[in-house]
């Protein structure tokens, strides 16, 4: 059994169909990067995996033991272990502005996991130290740069010891010069062996961090391969078209 198994996923927004039977598997050692034209369902896929979207069909088995079972009547089964085992970082900074950096990191462990405040704080300070943010511990989100906010958001997700991390276009809202610090933090996590699924428009970053790249279009996987193969030698006509377009624009 694979580490992540998505089978027959069905997701619709009213009459708009995003997925009609989408399948994707991922191994424990993988860092999977999803690429594809906007509107093809990359972000929706991550949101479904996090349990933020109602799914109309299929099953998602994630990381440890968590699973989500879709149902046509809108009453999907969401095993709470999903949110325990999976961490997510969003495109728009979603730090809680009324809490300090430390407060943001400690909220979930203390409130939803019953971790002692002092323990959570020690762990938070350790993480911030590791990310070079120790001196920002008592700052409020409004006092941080965009790059710092995203790194704090990553640290906040790590506080819960996720077995899988989801990154939904985490650098898209950043000024170009701030992108690198966030990407470096993700690289560091990757080197530490964290399984990840990443949605990004940055093809160079995709190539350097991925163990496997998935090109997705209109709710289907068109091609999935190791980054060097997919970028240098794409097998599908549509993959080639897409890469020609984005790399041309980017370069």
């Amino acid at each position: 059994m694979a580490f992540v198994e998505i089978d027959g996923l069905v997701k619709r927004y009213g009459s708009l169909s995003i997925f009609e039977g989408f399948d994707l598997h991922m191994e424990n050692a993988d860092r999977l990067v999803l690429i594809g034209p906007s509107g093809c369902g990359k972000s929706t896929l991550l949101r479904c995996m996090m349990g933020l979207e109602d799914i109309a069909g299929g099953t998602i088995r994630l990381g440890g033991d968590g699973y989500i079972q879709g149902a046509e009547d809108g009453r999907m089964t969401l095993d709470k272990r999903v949110q325990k085992d999976v961490g997510m970082v969003f495109q728009h900074y979603t730090l809680f502005p009324h809490l300090s950096v430390l407060g943001n990191l400690c909220l979930a462990p203390v409130r939803s996991r019953g971790v002692k405040k002092s323990e959570a704080k020690d762990k938070a300070l350790g993480l911030l130290e590791r990310f070079g943010l120790a001196e920002r511990a008592n700052f409020y989100p409004s006092q941080l740069s965009g790059g710092q906010k995203q790194r704090v958001a990553i640290a906040r997700a790590l506080m819960l010891d996720p077995k899988l991390m989801l990154f939904d276009e985490v650098t898209s809202a950043l000024d170009p010069e701030l992108v690198v610090e966030v990407e470096n933090t993700m690289m560091e996590l990757a080197e530490g062996g964290m399984p990840m699924m990443i949605v990004t428009h940055d093809m160079h970053f995709a190539r350097s961090i991925a163990t496997k790249v998935v090109f997705q279009e209109r709710g289907k996987v068109i091609e999935a391969a190791a980054p060097d193969d997919l970028f240098s030698n794409p097998q599908q006509e549509r993959t080639r078209d897409f890469l020609r377009n984005v790399l041309h624009i980017a370069g």
């Binding site: 996090m50 349990g51 325990k84 009324h98 979930a108 996991r113 409004s142 906040r156 819960l160």
Partner: protein, 223 residues
């Protein structure tokens, strides 16, 4: 204009005006206690999906927002004793009417603030494993209260000014004392100007403070 100002009676009546001011402040305080607490509860009720809860609350809010505070006050004072056979003091009726009026406006301020918190924060809290109640208590409400604070203070100081209406039901507040002195001494210009300046002296610093607070809360909640 050939008017000779004479401040003698105002000076003499100052202790009486100060006494009136104390009563005005007391009315304001209690109206704000009702307004802040009841307004909050009404706002929470308004966010419910149960129509049997939402409709009466909407009726209450709209009634108090769409009728003059003066008629509300006078109606409470004259009609409630007849309708319900209760004989409460004029002060109490004043506090009740002002408090219910303020609660209606505050409920809207709370509700708007709660609804202004980006949905992304709900998603982020869910992703962090917080349940619905924890999300509301630790993420949504604290931000909403910060966001609503300037409006709540503005509404609160508005009630301080509106409270002058209670003079009409013979509550001996600042306005009542001012009118009393001015008719007794035939010195309306001096007396009423002084009364206006006292209202101003209390309200102005608060409205300045609101500007500062607003700037700070905006900066804090900016993303």
């Amino acid at each position: 204009m050939n008017y000779e100002f004479d401040w003698f009676y105002v000076k003499k009546g100052l202790p009486q005006l100060i006494e009136g001011l104390w009563l005005t402040l007391e009315l304001t305080l209690w109206a704000n206690v009702i307004g802040l607490v009841l307004g909050f509860l009404v706002a929470i009720g308004m966010l419910s999906k149960v129509k049997a809860v939402v409709w009466p609350l909407t009726a209450y809010i709209e009634f108090f927002r769409c009728t003059p505070a003066l008629i509300q006050l006078v109606w409470f004072f004259f009609c409630i004793p007849i309708l319900f056979n209760v004989w409460w003091s004029a002060e109490f009726m004043g506090i009740l009417a002002l408090g219910l009026n303020l609660a209606a406006f505050n409920a809207e301020a709370y509700r708007a603030a709660i609804q202004a918190i980006p949905h992304a924060h709900t998603d982020a809290s869910t992703a962090l494993g917080l349940n619905a109640l924890q999300r509301i208590i630790h993420v949504i409400l604290p931000q909403a209260l910060i966001l609503a604070l300037p409006v709540l203070i503005t509404n609160g100081i508005g009630i301080f000014q509106q409270s002058a209406l209670v003079a009409l039901i013979s509550v001996e507040d600042l306005m009542y004392q001012g009118r009393y002195i001015s008719t007794q001494t035939f010195r309306p210009i001096e007396t009423l100007t002084t009364v206006a300046l006292i209202y101003f002296a209390v309200s102005f610093p608060v409205s300045q403070a609101v500007t500062l607070i607003e700037r700070r809360t905006k900066r804090l909640l900016a993303n």
